[in-house]
Amino acid sequence: MLGKLTLDALKHDEIVMFGVFTMVGAGVLAIILLTYFKKWKWLWKEWITSLDPKKIGVMYILVALLMLFKGIFDTGLLRVQQATSVGSSQGILSADHFQQVFSAHGTIMIFFVAMGLMFGLINLVVPLQIGARDVAFPFLNSISFWLFFAGMMLVNISLAIGEFSAAGWLAYPPLSELAYSPGVGVDYWIWSLQIAGIGSLLSGVNFITTILRMRCPGMKLMRMPLFCWSVLGSMTLVVFAFPILTVTLALLALDRTFGMHFFTSTFGGNPMMYVNLIWAWGHPEVYILILPAFGVFSEIVATFSKKRLFGYKYMVYAIIAITILSYLVWLHHFFTMGAGSNVNSFFGIMTMIIAIPTGVKVFNWLFTMYRGRVWFATPMLWFLGFVFTFTIGGVTGVLMAVPPIDFQLHNSLFLVAHFHNMVIGGVVFGYLAALTYWFPKFFGFRLNETLGKYSFWFWIFGFAFAFLPLYALGIMGATRRLNHYDASQGWQQLFIVAAFGVLLIMIGIGFMVLQYIVSIIQRKKNIDNTGDPWDARNLEWSTASPVPFYNFAKTPIVRGRNAWWEMKQSKIRFDAPIEYDKIVLPKNTPFGFYIGMLALFFGFAVIWHILWLVIVCFLAIISLIVIRSNNDDTEYVVPGKVIEKIEKANRFKAQAS
């Protein structure tokens, strides 16, 4: 009846039980609060069934931040383990638990924190920046979010019911094959990524179509804000790289579930093919994450230098170059797997070449600041932190692009320091900067600057203490994923410094949470009625804050780059239209949520081999799609009078302030 699922799946050690109780407790608390304040209907109508990309964006970011808390807790466990598990001490975690923790850490951070923040920001900002009211396929957008949510739930459920993968965030075979990982852990990993991955792929299709076909009149591609260009590049990577992940995960699942032999060590399988395929996806994936962060910085540097972005054309070419080159470097992740020197040299050279367009971008940002009227609000601080850390990470990357050097450093802590340098210094700093930059636009009040600055300083010093020692440790011979080492190595002090660094980062996150809480409490004091608190340059700042649900009462007509800046200079924004046209928007629908929940149960059923549930969920999903296709009534009309009322109220607010 319940496949492989038995009560044994609920037995865990103390640390895991603590985690389970915290998660379940938080869930129960949320249910109690929603019931007490009678907010269920509001939640359902305003958020769960909404097809408004602004709402969907906020939900992505909330999920990502929750996962950041889980991920950073895992990080704490790892650092404590490595700082204390020396000589005769075995630390706080068993070997198997340690492996599950670092596997969960990587999986959660990449797939649910970074991807979640990214898709959240894209949903919020891109339609506004191109002068559109919505994305190309709003229903598909909802499905994408709820599939992402389902994947996230599966990873978290694995903590309570069963176990997670102990095979690393990429689950290499033969370890991840059934023979060496007979439990459900790797299956949880496979299916949470598979489900979330389909969501990502659909979003890729959605946003490319949105950017190519829904720009407002006059917004030619070379007039588009650079953030949208970076999203176009990133989504192109998504669309052509995620199918590789889909297939690779499926092949591993076929090996484990149906006894096939793609990557097994016998019967003709080739585990190295998995490594090849997973990195053919994996390398584009890291560029998927970083390109929008670059886009964010392009927006921030121009705004806070009060100067237009230097070398717009070359920034666009750099994005295109990075997009294409990302497909030509993937072997640098496995130089040591045994290829000959001709193959290794080709990929080594390509890896060095891809650093060039990135360098072009960094210089262009710096040239934008030169002779600008630079002011250091929190978003600009994040940019400076990024330039410092990302450059270090970049050069260590170019260093490892040389195969003979990589033979020394592969899978050492030097590598670990490098990629955290890129992901934290680049991706995380970029998306945290974006949150501080765009928060006032979507919520109508500013965030507390002081707490934001504290958060930043703890993050950057935390990062330095946590990862610079790891570079040293890597060169001293420490490999990654060590749960114990000999006292004679002399590594412990540096591990303790690294643990201290993580503590600083946790304080940084604490300040961020405090910043949100204090800002919400003080929101009336920090209210922004202008819609443009930073005196910025692009179209999203031409709307009121918070943005009305229809985005633009009248579709803007654009005549050049930095359309909003131009409008401010020529003072044409005060033209109130005489007549407001009606606007057609998509109706709310619960089907996205239902499909996501069915996908969650489907994944759970496959993992635990509950055949009847697999079939039921699969058929239910198909039925929902067919039912939806029969539904002709998916849009509603907002009358011109309603728009007029909202616009007049917002204008009054702006002029009164």
Partner: protein, 201 residues
Amino acid sequence: MNNEAVALNSAEILEQENTNKTMFGFWLYLMTDCVLFAVLFATYAVLHKNTFGGPGGAEIFNMPYILVETMLLLTSSFTCGLAMLAVHKKQRKALLIALAITFGLGLAFLSMELFEFRHLVVEGNSWTRSAFLSSYFTLVGTHGLHITVGLFWLATLGYQIFKNGLKQHAVKRLGLFSLFWHFLDIIWIFIFTVVYLMGVS
């Protein structure tokens, strides 16, 4: 194709833009499907010699049988094209006949393929026998799964048109379906060439 300009009012323009947008999005999805199949082809290319003592392509492929399958699918792609011609000429009866023939030919293809698979399994040459057989069944089977989805989609569309007539969104969906169906025939060309023809030569 003649070049007379056609006058449309704004509602029709919006409909057409919506259709174009959806067709582009679907084309983009088909391109992702190309990459999906490319990975399966790459896997097949790397693993097809790993027969682990079991049979290779030359031993198990029945070429005349495969040729018949190929002709069935190709013809169904043609009749799908005829269906699209009927749509634009608004000939509902011709459309439904063309769709029914497309369905029949597709179903015949799928049945032949399933029969071939069953034959292999019964002989002991299933997907668990070797890496070659795993990759063969997965590549050809994934194409077959796509065909199955296509047949289901076609049946649903056909039923909707039969019951509700030829509405605008039905026209749009038929356009999407025909893209899908032609795409599957193109993938089959490569399966036919890389798996079967190269397998026996």
